[in-house]
């Protein structure tokens, strides 16, 4: 349910369930997005009451938060004033940023402490729009990314790996690297197997190892061109050792699970584990890593 949630290491502003895209691997269910609950006006006032000293990181998410652009932009202005030191992560599909009326209000609110994370699923409109099941979404997202260029905000592109874009992962990294705009980081994301992703797992699931293998060439290309890359939600045993330095322990603690076999793994403590849902569905087979002397 949308609302404002203060956790020990994050203040989460969950704006709305609704989204103007309809990605095949969305971890939210179609039902909740159709229901489209949105934060009520009085819920926003919580931002004025939370102690700024307790907040270091803020996540603004949805659905698509800019579907309620008025309140989201007002909240950003408030955050800038009340939480000037906090790191702010905005999860958006970026399409709203292509709307000049939104961009013109948003840009002056952005600082170096703000990061906009925008999913790009493919190197071209044809496949990207098929995955989002939304015509023009690719063109709009790219235009949105370009619109952010004059701001000091960090721009993160997120590539979610699944069967549909498996062979296009490396080309996607290359396209984002060569886009000639100010993308600061490109992350490869392993699916969270809930909602639509779980419902359509038969046609979407791809083994983590296969995803990393396919993306590897593009990842190295991006890194060589000075753009940071991170691997999110991948257990260490699914990633070749050479890419370990960019594996992030990204799954939130309450969703992390390990397999029984993980108990024999030398890297158990270093590893970010896998999603609860991935484990439940029995989709990934762990390969315990032997201690290296």
């Amino acid at each position: 349910m949308p609302g404002i949630f203060l956790e020990p290491d994050d203040l989460c502003v969950y704006v709305t369930e609704a989204c103007n895209s309809n990605c095949v691997m969305c971890p939210m269910s179609l039902a909740s997005r159709r229901r489209g609950l949105t934060m009520a006006p009085e819920q926003w006032s919580a931002l004025k009451e939370i102690d700024p000293q307790a907040v270091f990181h803020i996540t603004i998410t949805g659905g698509e938060p800019f579907l309620d652009a008025r309140n989201t932009l007002a909240a950003l202005a408030l955050i800038r004033e009340r939480f000037p030191e906090a790191e702010v992560l905005i999860l958006t599909n970026g399409r709203a940023l292509a709307v000049p009326e939104i961009a013109s209000v948003l840009l002056p609110l952005l600082t170096e402490r703000v990061c906009l994370a925008i999913p790009i699923h493919a190197p071209s409109a044809e496949l990207h729009d098929r995955i989002t099941q939304t015509p023009h979404s690719f063109a709009q997202a790219i235009r949105g990314i370009r619109a952010l260029a004059p701001s000091p905000a960090r721009i993160e592109a997120r590539v979610v790996a699944h069967r549909w874009n498996l062979e296009q992962l490396s080309p996607t990294f290359r396209m984002l690297t060569d886009l000639q705009t100010r993308i600061t980081v490109v992350n490869l994301i392993a699916m969270e197997m809930t909602g639509c992703a779980a419902a359509r797992r038969g046609e979407l699931w791809v083994d983590y190892r296969e995803a990393v293998r396919e993306a590897r060439e593009g990842i190295l290309y991006t890194v060589r061109h000075g753009i940071d890359v991170g691997l999110y939600n991948f257990p260490l045993c699914s990633v070749p050792r050479e890419l370990w330095p960019i594996v992030k322990n990204s799954i939130s603690p309450r969703k992390i699970r390990y397999d029984d076999a993980c108990e024999n793994c030398a890297e158990r403590e270093a590893c970010g584990g896998m999603f609860y849902s991935t484990r439940e569905l029995g989709l990934f087979r762990v390969e315990p890593i032997e201690a290296r002397r």
Binding site: P152, P245, A266, E267, E269, A270
Partner: protein, 461 residues
């Protein structure tokens, strides 16, 4: 498993350091146990070494994940672009300091607005969002019109950057109007004070015969009247060596809270007159130790006062924070941390590089503001050469030195003294080691008063 660390003999035992800036003292017995895997991880020393990242119990990957961020912090400056821009707005000066490095026998030259405008347009290309423009000379106030131009024009040309200004001046040409202008535009001011009047005037004689000391005090008073607090740096000459206490006291008398006890750099006039103004590293260190003692004594009298060289080192030793102090980083800050632009629009790797140019050697010229721009400067062979010759990890003698995490080298000085950028200056090495020896001895002794003082100093830069 042992992590990467540096060590050396110290007070009958061992001193260990690592790239996170952490340190530990071990007895020889503990060190033998530690390096042979016999040290109990649950013993006091074992836990201390674990906590400081000298060894680890789990996998290497886990260690990296725990300490990676601290390691990065130890070289944080590598993630920033050039942020310090020195504008030598003139090479003229009304002083004739015995050690002058910034004013050669060259034709007098003042920066014009045309050069200044072009220079600002070029440096606007640095990706750094916070930059400092240091106004230098010669004596920069000789060319106040271009200072006024730079200070007002830079923010217009770089609306997306935070630009701060600092003026390095002998203050002899200060007027209330200039002071008001500096105050209005938030320009910070630094001057030189070498000690008591006799010493100061001996080191820094004025061409017209007036007292540099008196005029500095007059200028400082005008600035304070305008609401600007002035900082000062000291340069040590042979004449200074006998009077460290008097030098520190002169700072206190003049209302300064900090001193930067700088050894003489053997460039420019100082190199030519080395026989009369120069001295050995040992002599400087003896001087430094006495000054340090004097500062401690003042503290016991309730007068807070700090020394900048020590503060720079302590920031890394006690806080793990990497400073963008050009001479104490790896690689050094030449080009990638700072550049210097002279009155004629020539661009040099650093202040030292342009000082050398004043003697006629332009080896460290990156380019010219009219001919090329920031990208060309950064990619020039000169910039690459100074970077690659100041990476401590690659320098024999530095790469395994226990003080490597805190230190740095200057390729310009090496080149000026020995004709090779990697022929390390023995004097600089001895001085850095000597100051660090002093600090680590105090850290070893654990005198609570001194520790408290060092803690305070580590937070002042």
């Amino acid at each position: 498993m042992l992590a990467h660390f540096y060590f050396s003999g110290f007070r009958g035992g061992k001193l260990l350091t690592n790239d996170m800036g952490r340190y530990a003292f071990l007895t020889d017995a503990e060190f033998a146990q530690f390096t042979s895997g016999q040290l109990d991880p649950d013993s006091g020393k074992g836990r201390e070494l674990l906590e400081k990242g000298f060894w680890y119990q789990g996998s290497f990957e886990q260690y990296i994940r725990e300490y990676g961020e601290q390691y990065r912090d130890g070289s944080r400056y590598l993630f920033d672009a050039t942020s310090l821009f020195i504008f030598a707005v003139t090479n003229e000066c009304n002083h004739a300091c015995v050690y002058c490095q910034a004013n050669g026998e060259n034709t007098p030259c003042r920066m014009t607005e045309t050069v200044a405008e072009q220079a600002l347009r070029r440096i606007a290309a640095t990706p750094a969002r916070e930059i400092t423009i240091e106004l230098q000379g010669g004596e920069p106030l000789v060319n106040f019109p271009v200072i006024r131009f730079l200070v007002t024009r830079a923010p217009e040309l770089m609306p997306d950057k935070r630009v701060s200004f600092s003026l390095v001046s002998n203050l002899s040409l200060m007027t209330p109007e200039i002071a008001a202008f500096l105050k209005e535009h938030g320009v910070s001011v630094s001057t030189s004070l070498d000690g008591p009047q006799a010493l100061h005037d001996r080191n820094r004689p004025m061409r017209g015969g007036q007292s540099a000391y008196a005029l500095m005090r007059r200028g400082k008073a005008m600035l304070e009247e305008a609401g600007i607090s002035v900082s000062a740096i000291q340069t040590t000459t042979a004449a200074s060596l006998a009077q460290p206490e008097a030098i520190v006291d002169a700072y206190v008398e003049n209302g300064f809270r900090q001193i930067f006890l700088r050894p003489l750099t053997r460039l420019g006039a100082a190199a030519r007159a080395w026989d009369t103004v120069g001295y050995s590293a040992e002599a400087y260190l003896a001087f430094y130790r006495r000054a340090f003692e004097r500062i401690l004594a003042l503290r016991r009298e309730g007068i807070p006062f700090s020394e900048m060289y020590a503060s720079l080192f302590l920031t890394k030793i006690l806080r793990g924070r990497a400073l963008n102090y050009m001479e104490l980083r790896s690689p050094c800050g030449a080009g990638i941390g700072q550049i210097a632009i002279t009155a004629d629009g020539s661009v040099y790797t650093c202040d030292e590089g342009r000082m050398l140019a004043e003697t006629g050697d332009h080896a460290f010229r990156l380019g010219n503001v009219f001919r090329d721009g920031y990208d060309e400067w950064m990619e020039s062979p000169v910039c690459r050469a100074v970077c690659s010759s100041s990476v401590l990890e690659t320098l024999p003698g530095c790469c395994d030195c226990v003080y490597k995490p805190y230190c740095g080298v200057c390729p310009v000085v090496n080149y000026a003294l020995h004709g090779s950028m990697t022929h390390l200056s023995r004097e600089k090495c001895q001085i850095h080691k000597g100051i660090l020896d002093l600090l680590f001895n105090y850290l070893y002794d654990q005198d609570p008063d001194v520790l408290e003082m060092l803690q305070e100093w580590s937070d002042q830069v």
